[in-house]
Amino acid sequence: MLRMIQHAGRWFFHRADALFNQVFGDRLNPLYYLGAITYWLLWVVVATGLYLYIFFRTGIEEAYSSVEYLTVQQWWLGGVMRSVHRYASDALVLAMLLHLTRHFVFDNYRSFRWFSWITGVMLIWLTYASGINGYMLPWDKLAQFVVIATAEWFDWLPAFGGTLIRNFIAEGAVNDRLWSLLSFIHIGLPLALLAVLWIHTQRVAGAHTVPPWPIAIGTTVALIALALVRPVTSQGGPADLSAAITTIDLDWFYLPAYALLYRWSPAELWWLIGGGTLLFLAAPWLPPRRRSTAGFHVLVHPDNRIIPVREGEHLLEAALREGMPVPFECRNGGCGMCKGTLLYGSVDYGLYQDSALPAEERATGKLLLCCATPLTDLEIEYVPTGMPGNVPVRVFTARVAKMARLAHDVMQLTLKVQGDQVPSFYAGQYINIFLPDGEKRSFSFATAPHQRDHIELQIRLVPGGRFTTRVFNEMKEGDTLQFEGPLGSFFLREDSSKPIIFVAGATGFAPVKSMVEHAFYTGMKRRMYLYWGARRLHDLYLADLPRQWAREHDNFVFVPVLSEPAPEDRWGGRTGLVHQAILADFPDLSEHQIYACGSVAMVETAHPAFVAHGMSEHDCFSDAFKLAPQLRAKSAEMVRLGGAP
């Protein structure tokens, strides 16, 4: 049943979108900006309301006469303001209901969107409370009806016990204080509305809270035109409690419940509204549940980052949430701005306009990020609006200042960046070095970010590897090379207090060195354990350094682990696979953050074992593991596994 409604609703919006695209163009289609339009209307209401407030007088006679003054004597401004105030409030309800319906029929209200949905329900209440309260102020016949109906309705609540209506029973029962109270509420409720609205859009990545200017202006002008054609007036003269309300022109956006109140009883109306509210509040968790898209990960180019996708999340949202500069406009499959390329995996393409993604483009692997949800782990590419990440990626030229062999197959390169401009980066990030033919090789910063005068890289000889053999055989001090960076989401997360376990395999030590030195530099007090795994003793090419750290810092522990120690190593330390050593020391990993960097093979075996021992997916980007086969096929030699906060 619900599915059918949603299906019909989707069909309807899809058609309407297409039609509106023809008329407004796909970038300025108001149907793509319903939330933002609602927001805009609220600002219109606030602005006009402030003007009315200047002239409004609180008092039995003054309330009515001051509004009459605005409407009649000052019709050219005050009257227009009053009319726009009213009509914008009405339009707000209409836009809000459309906005809500749209999110409902497209099923964009479950899982993580519950937050916007629940705050949305609060917005409905606040909107109605503000609007109904507003109708009490001019103290005309409609105000009389609304005040009395409200009292009659609320009196059913045990808290009032039927005594509220006594305040409005006859002339003389009402006094001037009432308007002080009512207008006080009429400031307070919209303020609360704005506050909740701020929260409402808080977690929506890249939310449009202002519509494009042509839409904002179009709506406002249309409302002003309406105000001039059909000015709002007070109804039936001042309120008179000795006269009954017979026929009244009701605002059906705000007051339909008040008509129902007299068909039904107050109790029935309370049950309807209370029950409806509860149903709305529960909706994100009610059936029909859809196929879960949770837990997939996406390798995103050109950022070269691996990001998780939450249940029900479109790729665009996931990327925006991670701060990636993906271009977008309509977010509803209308404009084609968010087009990307699917390199690996399969997606649900979602519902979009054919004009935004023609079938032949889709056949060549294009997809709309704002509509697509993953069906497997993915690899995608997009064209960024700016540079990825918080730190801009740039291309740098550097001179090889020093080369030192740390082991028979590990070279330490010290780079001086041209213009002494070491890029700002996060400890753990990496750079891509360009090869003459434009191919790239990734290496982690081995220096900490505060080290401003040079960059250190630790490069292991890959037999047959084009770049690394060149480093070992041809490169000499004074050579120049080009690189881009900084890159990667594998960096030390400083907003957690959990102890950290670093797992390094071979030259996976380089980013760990950067992170640990950064931690010492910033005075981080979290406990840190470094497990460095290698085959033979000479593979631990810088083992003296972590030993020294351990001597100098109480919160640092170093555990070297050799998998195949030779007799001449005379190894008395831990042996075996590095992750087994960790599991032996930490049977429960749930209270630790783990950063692992090493070969694909190491990371692939370690991950399931860590998860089995309680490692939370939040404390580790497990995506590197799932995508490992993919990565292996590519040139990546190191897999980085970073902790999220």
């Binding site: 209506i165 006594r166 006859a170 179009g218 026929t247």
Partner: protein
């Protein structure tokens, strides 16, 4: 669609939107009371008599109390329910038994009722009982001309001698 046509249709759509807003903002009219009707509102808040009268404490009872607590009379706080009957032209229009409010049932009983009646001249009789025996100890009778769309308020105030018609 060429550009002028698009702007024209945009204008039409905006106009349709505000037309819907403008229309439902004050139409269709809602009929709250039929044209030939008037409204009787029965409303009052009245504290009924105590269920039990005050009584003197016996000397033995007094002796048991602490010296500063020796009030000679005790008054149970619970009030009786208020029963009201309103007749119009000899027919019972409304009847209610309103219990006292408050946890200790010692508060006032509150009654509110809106009754739409045919406009014209009517003969009203109201009776009220505020004692535990349920005997109607207040009553009033009025013949009132209620014009269409007017309100006849029937209040009750014991200090003013009972029912008040306004």
């Amino acid at each position: 669609m060429n550009a002028p046509a698009r702007y024209f249709v945009q204008g039409l759509l905006y106009a349709a939107f505000v037309a819907a807003v403008g229309y439902f903002s004050s139409a269709p009219a809602y009929q709250h009371l039929k044209p030939d009707q008037a409204l009787v509102r029965l409303s009052f808040s009245h504290g009924a008599q105590r269920k039990q009268p005050c009584r003197e404490r016996t000397p033995e009872e007094l002796a048991k109390l602490a010296p500063n607590m020796r009030a000679p009379t005790v008054c149970p706080r619970e009030r009786a329910a208020v029963t009201v009957e309103l007749e119009m032209d000899g027919k019972l229009l409304y009847r209610i038994i309103a219990p006292p409010s408050g946890l200790a049932k010692d508060g006032a009983s509150t009654v509110y009722r809106r009754l739409a009646v045919e406009a014209g001249r009517h003969d009203f009789r109201a009776r009220l009982s505020d004692n535990a025996r349920g005997e109607f100890n207040y009553s009033a009778q009025r013949t009132v001309e209620v014009a269409t769309g007017r309100v006849l308020l029937i209040d009750f105030n014991a200090a003013q001698g009972g029912f008040v018609f306004r």
